[in-house]
């Protein structure tokens, strides 16, 4: 197996702005890459180009040395040795579970006995051994998803693609399936590409997270790195889970900002400072009498704490947590322990 390489890939659909613009990235063998972005950002188009359902208008996609597609030629999906879990599961309703899972083997003309063995293994890996003779219509959503996963397992594909596979499942099932995916990745060692708009899903599963917006790749890094050091307003908004303040900062400044600096930027900015966006996470907004005054906009009880939305005096909003009950329209004082310049 070999790394998957996207080299300046661009894809346009006739009129309008291209869906994917000049996107380059390399996924090393055995990695688990999450493509994260809001809907319409082009992440699904990237996935479909890797699968071979769409051809790039420009640029190239390679698996190691092998050219999969560029603007002129392309290897059709049926010759790529990839597998995909679709958002709609894409199980064939007229085949049984075992036939669905075994179909790639049947097409590849694997000997019957061996194929049966492999189907059995794949089904037991997703704990569906006893469902082999059922039809997809008789299964629940989570079970269908696992059948689709088992279908990916049987052929030992070079790359496994997952297109928002958890979007149609309820919250409880999602956690269970995340477990299954991690297990699947560890077991198969396949390179996996996972498209999602849910940052917590991406963080929890992937070894690498690539954030996309408007057809461009904004940042690619490990989940820890991207959480700690997001680049730019869009990435900050997607993965930050915090509030973004618009502040004026001195021109050469560290990216990690402490309370004295934030306070100065908020209260006494000096003429000539440049405006910047600063990400402030709720756990860094501490209710403290020595801080700045803020008004409570809303307060929700989440179980172990209250989640607050606050408004500073200049009208910018913040998010915070509180152990004590706070009511909307209350006045509080907050200290911003830490901020990250985007």
């Amino acid at each position: 197996m070999a790394p998957l390489i996207l080299n300046s890939v661009t894809k346009g659909f006739g009129s309008g702005a291209p869906a994917v613009r000049d996107l380059s990235l390399t996924v090393r063998e055995g990695r688990f890459l999450a493509l994260l972005g809001p809907s319409g950002c082009g992440k699904t188009t990237v996935l479909r180009m890797i699968a071979g359902f769409e051809q790039p208008s420009d640029g190239a996609i390679l698996l190691g040395e092998r050219l999969l597609a560029d603007g002129a030629t392309m290897v059709p999906p049926e010759r790529r040795n990839m597998a995909m879990v679709f958002q709609s599961y894409a199980l064939w309703p007229h085949m049984t579970v075992a036939e669905n899972v075994g179909y790639p083997l049947k097409v590849r003309k694997v000997a019957k006995e061996k194929a049966r063995q492999k189907v059995r293994e794949a089904l037991s890996a997703v704990r569906l051994d006893t469902y082999a003779d059922r039809r997809p219509a008789e299964l629940s959503g989570g079970q269908r998803q696992r059948v689709a996963l088992a279908r990916c397992l049987v052929t030992e594909p070079d790359v496994v693609l997952l297109d928002e596979p958890l979007a149609n499942l309820d919250r409880h099932l999602r956690q269970e399936m995340e477990e299954t995916f991690r297990d699947f990745h560890a077991r198969s060692g396949a390179t996996m590409i996972y498209v999602t708009h849910d940052q917590s899903e991406a963080m929890a599963l992937a070894t690498d997270v690539a954030v996309m917006s408007e057809g461009r790749l904004l940042q690619i890094a490990s989940p820890e790195e991207i959480y700690a050091r997001p680049e730019g307003l869009v990435v900050g908004g997607l993965v930050g889970q915090g509030a973004i303040l618009s502040l004026c900062l001195p021109p050469p400044s560290d990216r990690l900002l402490d309370w004295p600096r934030l306070r100065q930027a908020l209260l006494e900015p000096i003429e000539g400072w440049k405006s910047a966006h600063v990400l402030v996470r709720p756990q860094d907004v501490i209710l403290d009498g020595s801080g700045l005054p803020a008004r409570v906009i809303s307060s929700f009880f989440e179980g172990e704490r209250y989640a607050l939305r606050l408004e500073l005096q200049d009208g910018q909003s913040l998010r915070s947590f509180s152990r004590q009950a706070v009511r909307p329209a209350d006045m509080v004082h907050v200290v911003l322990a830490s901020g990250w310049r985007l």
Binding site: G52, E78, N81, A90, P93, V107
Partner: protein, 564 residues
């Protein structure tokens, strides 16, 4: 397949050329040839003689009159059935609806024959009941009014269907809300139902008009004996008395019919433009108004009308077919199956007509199945203007009156084929090609709607599993569209088997179809044989429609023409 192909789509290279050839042969070439001959003859001045012929103008007038009056009858019949069966709590709605749809699928010449058997001095049924008018009194249906009446009966289902679509989209909640705010049933009908029903009514009226313009079977049987010609029967009679200007004449008349049909259809298109019948939200179940005290009388009226337009003519047909000889009175002793014996076992003409029609219908149904599966795949999977154009071209022949299509194929195929050097004119093959052209849209429609309902990822998953085009077709696509494909086979078989208009111009000795045989038997005075053959046809139609009806739950919406 090579390991590297040029584009990212899922179609094999030969699919596009195949699609283009199909559409060229079945649609573009015959129509272009027709238009070309029409224009050339008009420019050469051949048209002068024809245009000076009063027969042409009286036929045009007859066509317009019968189609217009027929349209009004169809609107009254179809419209009231649509409103009553869709919106009111009439019992037995599905049975009534099915019966009301039957005339649409029964061949027009059979409808005409059965009504002749019902009225006039020589009606076996009336005589058996002692109610026949005196001999020598005229057959009332041999008139413009008679033709219009039967147009109305034959095309009422079209109006019914067009209106039902609009009425079904009536939101139940909206009606209930209006009720709560104190609106009476009458107010509701005027304010909510009428606006929803109007576009369907106009569209249905336009379709009924156009169908009347193109109808051949009814004016052929009712009009020709009384020398009342419409444009389609004028073409037929010009063709029968073949002369040097025949090709020019029939091409010009065909263009005239086409213009009338297009005028009707463009009215429909204008009315329907920008209207979306799809229901918003989950509704789709029509609101039901209560009829209250008048429910029983209304139900009785509906059944009475159904009895008059459906069962009574059929009884007359049955009576005629059982009569010992034309005009001899029928009772339990004289009833005989002689006519059936004759058409099934003795008459070589009817036996070969059975063989011809069944083989033509089977060949059309299965040939079109292959074409539709491939063409439908191309149309659904290609997102370009070419695909839209091809889809439109494939629809045109069905929208055209059959007689026009027959003329187009005569003009195209009368001369020897290029390269091959022989002509298929006069053989059964020209009928087959014309059938393939005429019923392409019938076969394509269920298949396309089945493809559209299919989640594209089902095919994509098969591609990633390594399955090439043929493999995917065999293992995934065809099994999934099988119910729709099955209905398309039965539909085409049903329509092709009973077809008269196209084969009336294209048949020659040895290649007559069932439709032609019925018409010729009637024409030569063997009314009881024609009736027997018609009874068999009606039984076949009903059986096939019932099979389709049983399949309906597994079919995509819009697959069956009588269920939208």
């Amino acid at each position: 397949m090579r390991s590297s192909v040029r584009s990212g789509n899922s179609q094999p290279r030969w699919l596009f050329p195949f699609v283009v050839i199909v559409v060229l042969v079945l649609s573009v070439l015959p129509l272009a040839r027709l238009a070309w001959t029409g224009i050339v003859s008009a420019l050469r001045g051949d048209a002068g003689q024809l245009l000076a012929d009063p027969a042409l103008w009286s036929a045009t007038l007859n066509t317009l009159t019968t189609s217009f009056l027929g349209m009004i009858a169809a609107v009254i019949l179809g419209g009231s059935f649509a409103v009553l069966l869709t919106l009111f709590d009439v019992r037995g709605r599905s049975a009534l609806g099915f019966l009301f749809m039957l005339p649409m699928m029964i061949p027009p010449q059979v409808t005409a024959l059965s009504w002749i058997g019902l009225t006039g001095p020589s009606s076996t049924l009336l005589k058996a009941m002692g109610m026949a008018p005196p001999l020598g009194s005229p057959q009332p249906l041999y008139s413009v009014g008679g033709i219009a009446l039967l147009f109305g009966v034959q095309h009422a289902p079209l109006v019914y269907l067009a209106m039902r679509a609009g009425l079904l989209s009536l939101p139940k909640e909206g009606v209930e809300a209006a009720r709560l705010s104190g609106a009476s049933t009458l107010r509701l009908l005027l304010d909510i139902v009428l606006p929803l029903a109007m576009p369907g009514l106009v569209a249905g009226a336009a379709i009924a008009f156009v169908s009347g313009v193109g109808n051949f079977g009814i004016p052929a049987i009712l009009g020709i004996p009384a020398s009342i010609y419409t444009l389609p029967t004028l073409i037929y009679s010009k063709f029968a008395s073949f002369g040097p200007t025949t090709f020019a004449d029939i091409s010009i008349i065909s263009v005239l019919i086409t213009l009338l049909a297009v005028a009707g259809l463009s009215v429909e298109a204008r009315v329907l433009r920008g209207r979306d019948y799809r229901t918003i939200g989950l509704s789709g179940q029509a609101a039901v108004f209560r009829l209250g005290a008048v429910r029983l009388p209304v139900e009785m009226l509906l059944w009475l009308v159904t009895f008059i337009i459906l069962f009574l003519p059929f009884l007359a047909l049955l009576a005629s077919s059982l009569a010992p000889a034309y005009g001899v009175s029928l009772n339990l002793e004289t009833a005989t199956l002689h006519a059936y014996e004759e058409v099934i076992f003795r008459q070589s003409v009817t036996r070969s007509a059975f063989t011809n029609s069944v083989s033509l219908a089977l060949a059309s149904a299965f040939g079109l199945l292959v074409i539709s599966v491939l063409l439908g795949y191309y149309i659904v999977r290609t997102k370009s203007r070419t695909a839209a154009t091809i889809s439109a071209m494939a629809e045109i022949p069905y929208a055209l009156p059959g007689i026009v299509l027959a003329v187009a194929f005569i003009l195209l195929l009368a001369a020897p084929l290029p390269i091959l050097g022989f002509s298929i004119y006069g053989t059964i093959w020209i009928i087959l090609i014309a059938y393939l052209s005429s019923f392409l849209a019938v076969s394509l429609k269920p298949v396309i709607s089945a493809y559209r309902q299919l989640d594209p990822s089902l095919e994509e998953a098969a591609r990633l599993s390594g399955a090439g085009f043929y493999r995917r077709m065999r293992d995934v696509l065809v099994p999934l569209i099988a119910p729709a494909a099955g209905s398309s086979i039965i539909l085409v078989f049903l329509i092709a088997c009973n077809e008269l208009t196209v084969s009336a111009l294209l048949w020659s000795a040895g290649t007559q179809t069932l439709g032609v045989a019925i018409y010729n038997l009637d024409d030569s005075g063997s009314f009881n044989l024609a009736a027997a053959l018609s009874v068999l046809v009606v039984v076949m139609v009903v059986v096939l429609m019932l099979i389709l009806e049983l399949m309906a739950r597994r079919l995509p919406g819009g697959a069956l023409p009588w269920r939208r």
